[in-house]
Symmetry: C2
Subunit: 210 residues, 2 copies
């Protein structure tokens, strides 16, 4: 039985690229190529897949959310996260949400094939480029609470901060006291481990919270 792969990435070139790559692999069939998380769910409604190669950065429904929904609804579908960035934060979040693998777009076709075979066997696969970090991540995941959540309100504050508004102005926009905004910002700073708002915005953008 062939391995049925569903591709999800918002970039057409990448989809085309993957299709071409998989054409040369005997027992791997690309059964679908979609452009966002919503389409993943729509596709799985009516079709079957063994592996989902899922880009993290997508519009409409992002990778993390899609991964969560897919693994909950279709536990048999193995999800391999695909990211441009070798950031532990992503890896952690995806693994937490049920991903079986994590690859970088920088990885070779061979590595991707290996990953697909591994996850269909029920194994986990992480890009060799990240292997060395894995131990520390596992360790951190258990001991430390590095995977933090950003609440709805904090997200709003973050967004307005990135647009250059002051606490005062944000307070007015959200109909809350500027003290509260200060508190939210304070929490954000400590969650992202940023020394000030400039670094906060950078890290938030990097980690995909903006």
């Amino acid at each position: 039985m062939d391995i049925r792969v569903l591709l999800a990435d918002d970039h057409q070139v990448l989809l085309d690229g993957f299709v071409s790559i998989f054409e040369s692999i005997e027992d791997v069939k690309v059964v679908g190529a979609v452009k966002n998380g919503q389409e993943v769910l729509d596709f799985l409604e009516e079709n079957q897949a063994d592996v989902l190669l899922l880009d993290i950065n997508m519009p409409v429904l992002n990778g993390v959310e899609t991964c969560k929904k897919v693994t909950r609804k279709y536990p048999d579908v193995k999800v391999i996260a695909l990211s441009m960035y070798d950031q532990q934060s992503y890896l952690k979040r995806m693994v937490q949400h049920g991903a079986s693998g994590y690859l970088l777009k920088d990885d070779s076709a061979e590595e991707i094939e290996k990953a697909i075979r591994a996850v269909t066997q029920g194994e986990r696969y992480v890009s060799s480029q990240l292997q060395d970090r894995l131990t520390s991540i596992d360790f951190l995941a258990r001991k430390n609470k590095t995977v933090f959540t950003v609440s709805k309100r904090e997200k709003e504050v973050l967004e307005l901060l990135s647009q250059g508004f002051t606490d005062q102005e944000i307070g007015e926009k959200l109909f809350i006291s500027f003290h509260t905004v200060k508190t939210h910002r304070k929490h954000l700073l400590s969650k992202f481990n940023a020394k000030n708002s400039a670094e906060l915005i950078k890290k938030a953008l990097e980690k995909g919270h903006l």
Copy 2:
């Protein structure tokens, strides 16, 4: 004579993808696939190419700089910029620096082929997704002075700012007075039209200056 294409993108998957795509096109030959701007220059030192498919976001030497250097040194090489983002700021900068084409990674293989053929004919090609914006860009490019430069020193300050350092700390790192840092930051704020450092970092990241 075949069209010799040099690929430059830091993501292996994309390179593989392009190679696969071009394999099915008779008269297009991929003569090289490199991972950063420096490698582009190194490659062109010893080899020839007709078209350079150049990703804008690359480490070591970014797309804009690479484009500038390549078009200056090898005027016969047609550069097609490749970006994930449909931001006019990028388009403008690349065109200013001699790019002959601009594609989105979201574009289809067909569109890419079309673009390659167009630029080898000496034409210009812009992703159809951006066609409608072109007029306004041309207009802006003439009337307004939207394209500003960020000096070397300002870039350094920007980088350190994004890492959460204060003017004082940046001054120490760069062996200059914090007054000077303040001045640089002030200039950056006005250039990027940002109300504060948070917005500055966001805009700098968006426009690819970080």
